[in-house]
């Protein structure tokens, strides 16, 4: 059993990018379960997630996380020239994991037939699904998803919702930034509203 609670947190975090303050003194503790981050475009949702992932330097404050998060951003983050399977294998091997589950995961996400095609030949939806399959192949405690429903059709969206529920039940800390998808509210343990860099519990 985990003795350290899985999660991530930001304390008094301020992020400045391109000489603009994107996040102002954000205090946020994310624990097991689903946390939703909502806000209008340009409010800093993406930067908040990236700050939790450790991808942006903080001008002030600090960030703590148990284990290394899995961050899937706006874009699929898959290397072109590689197939979906090769991309996922790379990620899993880098984390020192077991690559045997990859085929099954890609199939479950509907990329079974195309897993050996270079990703640039996949549709946007397939690329998104292949990227999301990482939540099944990389076993991490903290999962950060930025607008994960983008490019997904109904089947994909359903699959994602089921996966989110499963991860939540599994005790993982899942943070999703989205500006729609109210159906997730009932699954969520906490909701954060962010506007112009300032975050508050909603």
């Amino acid at each position: 059993m985990r003795t350290v609670q899985s999660g991530a947190s930001l304390h008094d975090a301020t992020v400045v990018l391109d000489d603009r303050v994107i996040l102002r003194a954000v205090n946020l503790v994310v624990g097991p379960g689903l946390t939703l981050v909502r806000g209008p475009n340009g409010s800093g949702k993406t930067t908040l997630l990236r700050a939790l992932a450790g991808l942006v330097p903080l001008a002030r404050g600090d960030r703590r996380a148990s284990g290394d998060p899995l961050y899937i951003g706006h874009r699929p983050m898959l290397l072109r020239g590689l197939t979906a399977r090769e991309n996922l294998e790379f990620f899993v091997r880098f984390r020192g994991g077991d690559t045997r589950g990859i085929d099954g995961a890609l199939r479950a996400w509907g990329v079974g037939e195309d897993m050996d095609r270079p990703v640039e030949r996949l549709s946007a939806g397939e690329r998104r699904r292949a990227a999301l399959a990482r939540v099944d192949t990389e076993k991490v405690a903290v999962i950060l998803l930025d607008e994960p429903f983008a490019d997904l059709d109904d089947a994909g969206a359903n699959r994602l919702r089921q996966t989110i529920a499963r991860l939540r039940d599994d005790g993982r800390a899942v943070v999703i930034a989205t500006h729609a998808h109210r159906e997730l509210d009932e699954l969520a343990k906490a909701q954060i509203a962010i506007d112009d860099g300032a975050a508050r519990a909603a």
Partner: protein, 222 residues
Amino acid sequence: MITSYRIALVAGRELRAERRQPDGVVAAVTFIAVLVLLESLVVGPQIAHEADVAAALFWLALAFATILATMRSFDRELEDDALEGLVALPGGRDALFGGKVLSLAIVLLLVAGVGGILSIVLLDLRIALPVHLLVVVLLGVLALPPIVVVDVVLALRLRARAALVPILALPVLVPQLVAATRGTSAALQGDAVGALSWAGLLFAFAVVYTVIGLTIVPAAIE
């Protein structure tokens, strides 16, 4: 050690992508071929035939080919934010530099091979010490990528980076280019001691700049 493993993974990922999308290799190989041809023509085959000149033309062409290949490699990383996927992994930043340098060195060996053979054929070069020549070229190829990778990483999110990278890289590459050119010339002319001395220097450069890159680049990646 886990970092070496990860560096190997990054290099493998790069080489695999390059094999399926060889536009980087193709561009670099074509580029060096064109440059060797052009340089020899412009300077005049008799003059280019001289060891010093042939060596200089070759290494200058290879320096530019290195910049080309490195920029192409990172351009691919920027598509779909693939670089971010790597950097977001634990230890991703640390493995990136080593992996890129390793994979680029391998690609550049191929490019150097093509450029070298072409030079030998076009200019009717006489090679007094072929083994020494191979050693110099190998070490020269190892000494070029570290600086170029650092500079491409530094310029990654900047506009006009295609112009900026050569400006940043070439002055810093002067010692490597001098050593490689002199070493190549020595090997062509039969000066074994000279060739090996310059080769030793190239090895030192490769080591020093790789170590500096490994230390300093993780902090600079965005």
